[in-house]
Symmetry: C2
Subunit: 396 residues, 2 copies
């Protein structure tokens, strides 16, 4: 902090070669150089060649700040995720990054660490950097966040979660419906005493929706989730294990445990095995996410899968379109697929599961697919235009 009063404003700025030098070497105006790289159709082939040669010779890389200032386009996109320490979010970013890179956009990444305020701070920093578009996981951000975005009419999309009645364009799946499906499946196996291990719901709309879906399903079958059977804590294997031990230490044990995600389920399965509890015969356990590992270690976990790479790609494509003035923002609902594997079965005590009472064909369908996971099935998309007013159809 002491000695950086070196005379910074040296003649010539950064020292990097500038467009003007390329122009000079190519013997054209700066406007022409700019056109060669931005609207090449407006420049004769001859001049173009000369300019490109000069640019190459000088190793010119355009200065994005100058470009952004003059064109009001930064070619920067932003993405906010809770954390990179989670395969599912990392995959989303991965898919998005690829699409953005293909389209000449660079990607700023910010992590909220599940803290809405941190999320807002990241959004502000990104706005200052001049992002053109923004993707953010979930909708748990201070309201001010969306005011900022609207105020600048900055195209944004929320990912991962999807709610029919969300005021925002979102690309993801319906957490509530997914857990309803999971609950229905477990009930269809014949389970009636069911416990749950969930991650914290505060500042996480998705988890709350999952629990709602679970309760919907149970309620429809006349089953209630007792308070003592709902364990909420850190989203990791250790808490899953700890919760399982506590649950199984109770007097009346459940025959199934529905976990809020795969990490919790993985911990629960491990702890159960350690206790000598047979999975799935003594106890069924389900997860959510279909992390890469869970279908590859024994016992293979019953869970639900969402294509996060695809979510990232779809978000990237939609935002690229929006940035170009083409295309409009809309919501896309992806399906969460039930993956029936080795950690669920009818309860040992139960008679044959009352499968007839439920439509199990859907589950069979999923099971069949499970055999060859990449059989070219694309996620089902349900589209809802949020900006019907814009009516920018290609074909009029």
């Amino acid at each position: 902090m002491a000695d950086d009063k070196v005379a910074r404003r040296a003649r010539g700025g950064t020292g990097r070669t500038r467009l003007a030098e390329v122009a000079q070497l190519a013997q054209v105006s700066t406007a022409t150089v700019s056109r060669v790289f931005n609207t090449p159709t407006k420049v004769s082939a001859e001049v173009q060649a000369r300019v490109r040669e000069a640019a190459a010779a000088l190793h010119w890389i355009p200065n994005a700040a100058g470009r952004a200032l003059a064109s009001r386009r930064s070619h920067i996109a932003g993405v906010i995720i809770p954390t990179l320490d989670n395969e599912i979010f990392a995959r989303q970013v991965s898919g998005m990054q690829a699409i953005f890179a293909e389209n000449g956009f660079t990607l700023l990444i910010g992590c909220s660490n599940y803290d809405p305020a941190e999320g807002l701070a990241q959004v502000q920093a990104m706005l200052a950097q001049g992002i053109e578009v923004l993707a953010m996981v979930g909708e748990n951000y201070p309201p001010q966040t969306f005011d900022l975005l609207r105020q600048r009419s900055l195209p944004y999309v929320l990912t991962y979660g999807y709610r029919h009645d969300s005021p925002h364009p979102c690309i993801g799946f319906d957490n509530r419906a997914a857990f309803r499906q999971l609950a229905d499946y477990v009930l269809s196996l014949g389970h009636r005493r069911i416990a749950a291990i969930f991650q914290p719901m505060d500042a996480n709309d998705r988890v709350a929706a999952r629990l709602d879906g679970l309760r919907d399903g149970l309620a429809a079958a006349g089953v209630t989730l007792r308070a003592a059977d709902l364990h909420i804590g850190p989203s990791n294997m250790d808490f899953g294990a700890e919760s399982l031990r506590r649950i199984m230490a109770g007097k009346t044990r459940p025959t199934a445990i529905i976990c809020g995600n795969d990490n919790l389920a993985l911990g629960a399965v491990g702890a159960a095995l350690d206790l000598g509890i047979a999975i799935p015969h003594d106890l069924s356990i389900t997860g959510f996410d279909d992390l890469a590992i869970v279908s590859r270690i024994a016992p293979r976990l019953t869970t639900m899968r969402v294509d996060n790479l695809e979510i990232g790609r779809l978000a990237g494509e939609m935002l690229i379109g929006a940035a170009g003035g083409r295309g409009m923002l809309h919501s896309i609902e992806l399906r969460a697929d039930l993956c029936m594997r080795a950690t669920t079965s009818p309860p040992r005590s139960a008679a044959r599961a009352p499968a007839a009472a439920r439509d199990s064909d859907n589950a069979n369908d999923h099971q069949a697919r499970n055999q060859q996971p990449h059989a070219g099935i694309r996620p089902q998309r349900v589209q809802h235009d949020l900006q019907e007013d814009k009516k920018q159809r290609r074909t009029p």
Copy 2:
């Protein structure tokens, strides 16, 4: 592409509020507004308050492009990793991002997908965006990449891998030494017939170094790795499993398999268990990385751990320093810790392992630590100044 010839150059530019408007409202010059936010000590408290109030009232967010252009500082950092679909790189980015955010930097992220050319392309895009500093995983990039960086004297650091004689500042661990250690450990258990499953080495200096380290160790013990016992393929569980089956189908089975990373090892362990091979008694298997999962599922994997979060943080801190003109780039060597767990033991056939022949205290040390992994042990750092000439000591 058709209809975006709307008259873009509307008077007033972006529509965002500008610094000049803040100045007007606060009744000061633009210079003063700028100073309030950049060098507040130069402005009286009274004026400062007025300016801040005006800025808040107008919801002014400074335009980074204008700022960057005028100041020649973008406050953007870049990081290049092979892929986000890998816990270890995601963690590095995570640690780095936190440090950069704390220091007012935003982070551009690029993935090379293990392709040097893609890495270079990302670097170029980032240079265009005006990154001030850059972190990149490994050193497999076209030479031109480093020319570009040097040409602009852009501070950069290579992460994950560390080589004593690298021409670049790097923060990481010595892959060769780590695998030498691993080999020594396995040999110390008494194994003499050892196979290996590795990821591809092309365009991946780190993997090549690992194999070298393994060979060093084996050679020192007079053991050779037969060509038929070295399986190289995709870095995933499936290849690990497939390789294991092929290895164990041979006439003379090895008693230990050293894998290039945890994913391969996880696949091998699973396949071995499926074949009814007792781990570790019939076969010892080792991994590398200590992914979160491997110490939490049975059988707990013997592997080596490197603190990737810390690598990210250290890289972030060093680069922030370099960007500020303070501090210089240097290399930091972190230690890779051997985690002795349940997938290794002396071979069943062997007499007591010839432990006396090797220094096993080191291993014991690690085993003890293993019990409480977070016992506050900081990575050992070995520092090498690469830019001795700069001699910017604080205390002269």
